[in-house]
């Protein structure tokens, strides 16, 4: 965002706003720049403005305010067919009246490419997605996963430098989706193309991207690499949206040297790292990942604060145990523990003590 230099950026959104009806802004003040070769995911719930951003980049929507730059040139006044951007659509948008090979040849034909060159490129693109045998088929004769591959090959066959993907894996089953996630990222990285990927699936965003932009309410809430997004969410929306997350409401009691103590609903104190709280007395929402909660004090600082908790439910999930606790008046507090030989299996009704390292609990906006 602010720290990004816009000099070597390949795609830039500069204070972009979009309104469909002239009143409500679907996209509010979007600033984003991505360097060549980056795989950026726009992640957010439906209606957060992510798809609108993609459509503005593709040229199917026009920005109400602000400028979009591609390779340093403003593209607001360039029609979609002159932008040279590849795109994979949510429903693949393969032409049903053409064979797979004709679909792939289409972008090359409109570029007036010679027949032999065209055939060579189509073949190479089909081989790239391991669909070399299927050139003569029609899209309807292919499975969902195969159609997906063809759509990908068609978006890449004319060698665009920028490829947009609009929830391309949404219609596939889980196993195929995971496989395609891997395939798409490796192809994108091998070809060195810049990719803007839109999804509402956070797993997809975390596993595929170099950076993720979390959208909500027409704004980017946080733009960061996946690990930073998961481990250091900057506000409570991001913390809730990415991964599983426990929250505790409270009021900041003391704050010093990058640590703070927060008094939670039942009156007990707990340690946290202040993220967007600045002074005692402020209301805050503490966010803590289920796998970062410690049971007992053995691995914590000697004078760390702990909370009393009552076990409500113990769920055996194979590799991990998932335990639901009542903590500070909330009964949706979840902890995850690894299924290790020495790991205790808790029983409902047991009273335990939980705590955490101050830097794992983030005191966010309430």
């Amino acid at each position: 965002m602010a720290s990004d230099s816009t000099n070597d950026a390949f795609v830039v959104f500069d204070r972009v706003q979009k309104s469909y009806d002239g009143e409500t802004l679907v996209v509010k003040d979007l600033n984003l720049s991505l360097p060549k070769g980056e795989f950026l995911t726009m992640l957010g719930p439906s209606g957060s403005g992510k798809t609108t951003c993609l459509m503005m980049l593709a040229g199917f929507e026009t920005a109400t305010h602000g400028e979009i730059l591609l390779d340093g040139k403003p593209i607001n006044n360039i029609p979609p067919h002159k932008r040279g951007i590849g795109m994979v659509f949510q429903n693949y948008a393969l032409f049903p009246h053409m064979t797979v090979a004709e679909n792939l040849a289409f972008p090359l034909e409109v570029r007036k490419m010679g027949k032999s060159e065209r055939e060579a490129k189509v073949k190479r693109a089909l081989d790239m997605v391991q669909m070399g045998e299927f050139g003569g088929r029609r899209p309807a004769q292919l499975s969902g996963g195969q159609q997906q591959r063809i759509a990908l090959a068609r978006a890449l066959v004319f060698e665009p430098e920028l490829v947009l993907m609009d929830e391309p894996l949404g219609a596939l089953d889980k196993q195929l989706r995971e496989h395609m996630q891997f395939e798409i990222t490796s192809i994108a990285h091998n070809l060195g193309i810049t990719t803007v990927y839109v999804t509402h699936d956070q797993t997809e965003a975390l596993t595929m991207s170099d950076r993720v932009a979390v959208f909500e309410d027409g704004r980017i809430q946080q733009l960061a690499p996946p690990d930073e997004l998961y481990e250091a969410p900057q506000n409570s929306f991001v913390a809730q949206f990415i991964g599983e997350n426990n929250t505790l409401e409270g009021v900041v009691e003391t704050i010093s040297n990058g640590e703070c103590t927060v008094r939670v609903a039942d009156g007990s104190l707990i340690d946290a790292k202040p993220v967007n709280v600045t002074k005692p007395g402020e209301k805050t929402l503490i966010s803590i990942r289920p796998e970062r909660v410690e049971m007992g004090k053995s691995r914590l600082h000697p004078d760390a604060h702990t909370l009393k908790a009552e076990v409500l439910e113990f769920i055996y999930m194979g590799d991990i145990f998932r335990t639901r606790l009542r903590v500070a008046g909330r009964d949706d507090f979840v902890i995850k523990t690894r299924n290790a030989p020495d790991q205790k299996r808790l029983k409902p009704g047991e009273q335990i003590e939980i705590g955490w390292l101050a830097e794992d609990a983030r005191a966010l906006d309430a």
Partner: protein, 284 residues
């Protein structure tokens, strides 16, 4: 045909058979008037009735003389020639303009598209005699009454609503992301229309064209106003023939028209199914 379920009540059983009887009557009333003229057109006499010889199936009572008259009498041949000159041109214009209108009106951002649609379809709703009178006064002001292009233009106006309706219906199922995909791959709007959109809405365009053709080929009211002695179309000739001479040649003409209509409908239906099959293959 569906079977009666074993639990059907008496009322349901009665309706089950009653419904079939009603359907049979409807078909009878639709088809009988057409079927009855076909044997009459082979009448050896110059009458509009079945002669006793015909009823006895006497070969002497049948002849092809009315067909001969139809194919050799200059009144009829020029009428056929006029219809053949006018109908395809009117169809071509209706299909081009109607398809463009339907594509345009299917864009959600067009202001007042419902009103425009209503105006374009109005020739179908307004009584023909009123349209014809209006056209006569308007066309005579711009001096195209009695000309070839005057009749073509009038028939185009009558044909456009059919094309708009059928093409609009096909466009409802058209996936907009296909045109976006084409644009994205570098195709300009015109290329996109002819390479992507047109092949997929072709069934609607063909049916619309068929209706427009039949409208022009069958139309008698407007042509009576706009046409001229040199521009008598086949329906006009049949109409005046009925009024003035009552020759069974009309029946021969009608039989030939029925045969052409059946042939045309069958061809178009086969074409339509073929492209429907391609279209039905679209994913999602």
């Amino acid at each position: 045909m569906s079977q009666l379920p074993p639990y059907a009540t008496v009322g349901q059983r009665a309706w089950y058979y009653g419904f079939r009887v009603i359907c049979a009557f409807i078909f009878f009333f639709l088809i009988a008037p057409i079927l009855v003229i076909i044997p009459l057109s082979f009448n050896a006499e110059n009458f509009f009735t079945y002669t006793p010889g015909m009823l006895r199936l006497d070969p002497e009572a049948y002849s092809l003389k009315h067909y001969r008259d139809f194919l050799t009498n200059p009144e009829w041949t020029s009428a056929v020639w006029n219809s053949v000159r006018i109908a395809p041109m009117a169809t071509l214009l209706s299909v081009s303009l109607g398809t463009l209108a339907a594509v345009g009106l299917s864009q959600s951002h067009v202001p007042g598209r419902r009103a425009i649609m209503a105006i374009l379809i109005s020739p179908m709703i307004v009584p023909l005699i009123i349209s014809a009178t209006g056209m006569y006064f308007f066309y005579s002001k711009i001096n195209i009454v009695g000309t070839y292009w005057g009749v073509v233009l009038a028939h185009t106006v009558l044909g456009i609503p059919f094309v708009i309706i059928t093409v609009t219906a096909t466009l409802v199922g058209f996936d907009k992301s296909l045109t976006r995909a084409a644009a994205n791959m570098g195709a300009d709007p015109v290329t996109t229309f002819f390479r992507v959109q047109m092949p997929l809405i072709l069934p609607g365009v063909i049916s619309g064209g068929l209706f427009a053709f039949i409208t022009s080929f069958d139309e008698v009211v407007v042509v009576l106003f706009i046409g001229s002695a040199e521009l008598q179309t086949l329906p006009w000739q049949m109409f005046t023939g009925l009024r003035e001479q009552i020759s069974p040649t009309i029946l021969a003409a009608a039989t030939i028209l029925v045969a052409i209509s059946i042939g045309l409908l069958t061809t178009v239906e086969i074409l339509r199914r073929r492209s429907e099959r391609l279209r039905g293959m679209s994913p999602g």
